[in-house]
């Protein structure tokens, strides 16, 4: 830019919201005295049309090249004013906001003079930053308008069909031989008792026939690279030893095959041939030879004859795809109680899991739909269902598996429908969770049909040796007495858990998992389908246990989310990304790569001998790498070290010993401070806040600089551990960094209370106000003299440190 900064400051009254406490005239007057400020006015409502027009006019008339609006939170109107200035021809990133409402007038109503002084400081900080702002252009990347759906269960099927119908090419990858997922294993579905495969089968066929969908079954994902709009996916198609194009699915090979082995699809209760499909409705209907069992008698080759579909020399094949978005629908697994479990699963033959029961009662299942006991092949007259096996147990899976209550009710109703009063059904439960449409009515139906409910968690099951019946011990908590019951069959509703390869998928896709092992959504309420990685979405039970309607809705939801990217030729990425200075990067000289390791998104490449490089499209702009870089070689655009240092200097110019220097992350603690203001929680006006996108951005040097400039206290506000961070784990990186710093500062004579890290969510306005009250009280207690003395002792040390780094 040819000329120096020419800053315009616009102070908003916000009616009386600001002007009722803060002397806006004095603030405006003060703004005029600040360096590079050439124009300053106050206005009743800056965000109104006339208010915005005034900004546009002033930019032109006074040749402004920076704009500061002192009004509400940037979380409220930063976007509005960025648009305003760009309409006047100014780059939107040359705008800065001073939050004198949520952070000032609203939380200091009874101390208007102090509030006015604070407002002046806030404007001064904003101007200091504005002087150093530079124009930024959004990063635009092209989009490959194809999608990958990872997992062929009911969620994936719906996502794929919806996207295909919108006209996008979809690749569906399924690790098993057939798509369909768990739903294809089920007999009936609650609460309507539709036959599961009858409603899912046609959808599976639709997927296979759709011209826009290509299925890769019996296929693993090896790697995923790239970023939103531009993912490169490597697959491995495992060898079926059957040529897919030649196989007609006639099954003549199966008929002649002499070898049988347990069919996993039937929970190993049935058998399949060494050349077979897992079930008759399999899609794609392509046979497979299991070489672990095949004796290579070649009878199948003869049966296949001229079709020549069998090829024993087949090798796994690698395929590479390019896609713009990925929908993860990898589903869940069922927990199987381990050896020595108190319910005797695996030890007593008449104790089975619900999924095994599902295969028993299914007409196409291994027993032809007859519920019989493994011990004697007889039909049980008393069947007990045990709920929450593994679920709601802190020693196993602390969460509720969600759908077990409903499928157990379904099993109970099915038994009653089949056998009426000739079977007595007991359900041992802790709570019956039958929310959602039609579910409570289903529970009523089970009671109407005479299903017996016992509220109590089963403590132990013992087998009667003579007849292999089972004695169930529990407390009937409604009777308030221990109870024993003799059942002829016990069915365990075992927990739904994250699928066994969730860790692998999470590593390949760089998406996070919760403590429960399921994939994490970007925001539990407002972004339930997004992952923290742009362009990757979640649907179905891979995100947490879900029933069919929920999975179907999420599949369609994920398709719609994916389409917001696929439907555009390119996507824009906020340019607040990190940039490496190759001159300063020490990776050229030593093996460093710290930034690459600390980046939560894998957006930094640090090859030996070369300077590290940020892939802008993958960078989310948290700034963690900037704070971690030992050579200060990385800069985060719009949140540069120089800008933050300028803000600190401005904040602490006068009476620093009275001030709390705060660094708050945009998403949680800054928002928590906003909420404290919105809720009108009053706290002492000592705080000065620097907003960063993530607490991970808070450099040790920021804290040191604050103390060097004489700050009374320093606060770092972050999202709650372990999982609230909007950049996956920036808060953890900050924690490690600051724990080390705190120890060092303490050694150098700093009273520990003067440096504080707090985890405050966007909902914790109360906590934010409490923390500031507490810190202000402590600051008073410690006293100005001691603060000054401690800071004086620290200063030479910090000066030396900064001198070494050339600050």
């Amino acid at each position: 830019m040819s000329q120096g900064p020419r800053i315009g400051v616009f102070v908003c009254h916000c009616g009386l919201n600001i002007a009722g406490v803060v002397d806006v005239e004095a603030v405006t007057e003060y703004a005029r005295t600040l360096p590079d400020v050439v124009y300053a006015v106050h206005n009743r409502y800056t965000c109104s049309d006339p208010g915005q027009e005034e900004i546009r006019k002033a930019i032109k008339e006074h040749n402004l090249n920076r704009v500061v609006v002192a009004a509400c939170s940037p979380r409220m109107h930063e976007f509005t004013f960025r648009r305003t200035v760009s309409e006047a021809g100014l780059n939107p990133y040359l705008f800065e906001m001073a939050n004198i409402r949520e952070h000032c007038s609203w939380c200091h109503p009874s101390t208007p003079e102090a509030a006015t002084e604070k407002a002046k400081d806030i404007v001064k900080m904003a101007v200091a930053k504005a002087r150093l702002l530079g124009p930024l252009e959004p990063i635009e990347v092209p989009v490959t308008n194809k999608a990958l759906v990872l997992g062929g269960g009911i969620a994936g099927i719906n996502a794929a069909l919806d996207l295909a119908e919108m006209g996008f090419k979809v690749y569906m990858v399924e690790k098993k031989e057939s798509i369909g997922g768990h739903m294809a294993q089920l007999d009936k579905t609650f609460p309507t008792l539709d036959c599961s495969i009858c409603i899912e089968g046609p959808k599976m066929v639709d997927v296979s026939r759709h011209p826009n969908i290509e299925i890769f079954s019996f296929t693993d994902v090896l790697s995923v690279e790239g970023f939103v709009g531009n993912f490169k996916v490597k697959l491995r198609k495992n060898a079926r030893y059957v040529i897919e194009e030649n196989c007609t699915g006639c099954g003549e090979c199966r008929d002649v095959c002499p070898i049988e082995y347990p069919n996993e699809w039937d929970m190993n209760m049935g058998v399949r041939k060494a050349i077979s499909v897992p079930f008759d409705q399999a899609v794609p209907l392509i046979y497979r030879i299991n070489k672990d069992y095949c004796i290579e008698c070649y009878k199948c080759v003869d049966a296949c004859g001229d079709r020549q579909a069998i090829d024993f020399s087949r090798e796994p094949e690698e395929v590479e795809l390019e896609v713009g978005t990925i929908i993860v629908t990898t589903g869940y697994d069922i927990y199987l109680p381990e050896e020595g479990n108190v319910y005797g699963y695996g030890k007593y033959s008449n104790v089975i899991t619900s999924l095994e029961f599902e295969r028993l009662i299914l007409a196409a299942g291994p027993t032809g739909g007859h519920v019989i006991r493994a011990s004697d092949g007889k039909r049980p007259k008393v069947v007990a269902f045990i709920q929450c096996v593994g679920s709601r147990d802190i020693n196993k899976y602390p969460y509720c598996s969600g759908f077990c209550c409903m499928y157990t009710l379904k099993h109970a109703i099915q038994l009653k429908e089949h056998y009426g009063q000739d079977v007595e059904v007991y359900i041992f439960y802790m709570d019956v969770r039958s929310n959602f449409k039609g579910y409570e009515e289903f529970y009523m139906r089970a009671r109407e049909m005479g299903v017996n409910f016992v509220r109590g968690r089963v403590s132990r099951i013992l087998e009667v040796p003579e007849n292999k019946n089972l004695i169930i011990r529990a407390e009937d908590t409604l009777l308030g007495e221990p109870i024993e019951l003799e059942a002829e069959m016990v069915v365990l509703a075992t927990a739904a858990k994250a699928c066994d390869d969730a860790a692998e998928v999470s590593r390949i896709l760089n998406i996070t998992r919760g403590t429960d092992g399921f994939f994490m959504e970007s925001h539990p309420k407002l972004k339930p389908i997004d992952t923290p990685v742009d362009g990757i979405f979640l649907a179905g039970a891979c995100q947490g246990p879900k029933d069919i309607p929920y999975s179907v809705s999420q599949g369609s939801g994920a398709a719609a989310r994916a389409a917001t990217i696929l439907s555009k030729p390119s996507v824009k990425i906020e340019p607040i990304v990190s940039v490496v200075d190759p001159e300063k990067c020490r990776n050229t000289r030593v093996k460093c790569g710290i930034c690459a390791r600390k980046c939560p998104y894998g957006a930094i490449r640090a090859e030996p001998g070369k300077p590290a490089e940020v892939i802008a499209a993958m960078c989310h702009g948290c700034g963690t790498c900037v704070a971690e870089c030992p050579a200060d070689a990385i800069t985060q655009m719009h949140f540069t070290d120089a800008q933050v240092f300028a803000q600190i200097e401005a904040a602490l110019e006068n009476n620093p010993e009275d001030k709390i220097m705060g660094f708050c992350c945009n998403w949680c603690s800054y928002a928590g401070a906003d909420l404290a203001g919105t809720s009108r929680f009053e706290y002492p006006p000592n705080l000065r806040v620097v907003r960063v996108m993530c607490s991970g951005r808070v450099d040790r040097d920021f804290v040191l600089e604050a103390f060097r400039k004489g700050a009374g206290m320093v606060l770092i506000g972050a999202c709650h551990l372990p999982y609230d961070c909007h950049y996956i784990d920036g808060n953890w990186k900050m924690k490690a960094r600051m724990e080390a710093l705190a120890k060092m500062l303490e050694k150098l004579g700093l009273t520990p209370d003067r440096f504080r890290v707090e985890y405050i969510s966007a909902a914790e306005g109360v906590k934010f106000a409490e923390v500031i009250r507490d810190m202000a009280a402590k600051m008073k207690e410690i006293g100005k003299e001691r603060i000054k003395a401690e800071n004086a002792k620290l200063k030479p040390f910090i000066d030396r440190m900064f001198a070494r780094k050339g600050r």
Binding site: R447, I483, E484
Partner: protein, 191 residues
């Protein structure tokens, strides 16, 4: 009652549980919905008796019926504590009539155990004699006239007797033993 309490201290054993018992109860008018009870306890919170009695809890009675622990119910004097105010019926979110279930259990008790409270026998013989549960003294009847109220309608005692005979109630009435009081706290009977 002592026996009942002793039983309560042990585990409820499989042989005590009779899942078919509830179907017996359900045959009685008003008791059809016992299976729908999900033990919310509204009935017990509202019950005029439950607040004075340690064991008369409508919810618990419904539970015992569901489990079929019939030994605890049939012949248990606590069944006679119900005032049949029907508050439990009015407030039940599932349409279960606990009061009617208790009436069913009373009927089954009298049928099985041949035992009823003395006052019921008095009421029944009153009905048999006059068609009224309560025998109004002569002085009261006179006062009715003085107040200008019409005389009470006379009932057809013969019909009532026939009805009592036909249903077998007359025989029950003649043979049943009686007790006078039920202790609210312990449920024990005396007299």
């Amino acid at each position: 009652m002592a026996e009942l309490q002793q039983e309560a201290q042990e585990n409820v054993k499989p042989e005590k549980i009779d899942p078919k018992f509830k179907y017996e109860v359900m045959k009685h008018p008003g008791a059809e919905k016992i299976q729908m009870c999900f033990q919310c306890g509204t009935c017990t919170a509202d019950c005029a008796i439950a607040r004075f009695s340690d064991f008369y809890k409508p919810r618990k009675i419904a539970r015992i019926v569901q489990l079929g622990l019939k030994n605890r119910l049939l012949g248990n004097p606590m069944l006679w504590l119900c005032t049949t105010c029907f508050t439990c019926v009015d407030h039940c979110p599932q349409g279960v009539e606990v009061s009617s279930i208790v009436r069913a259990l009373r009927n089954m008790s009298v049928g099985n155990m041949n035992e009823m409270p003395f006052i019921y026998k008095v009421f029944a013989s009153n009905v048999l004699k006059t068609g009224y549960v309560y025998l109004m003294p002569e002085s009261r009847l006179k006062r009715r006239g003085a107040e200008g109220l019409p005389p009470l309608p006379k009932s057809n005692v013969e019909h009532v007797t026939k009805l009592f005979e036909a249903t077998g109630f007359l025989e029950t009435l003649e043979n049943a033993s009686t007790f006078k009081n039920v202790n609210l706290k312990t449920g024990d009977q005396d007299g």
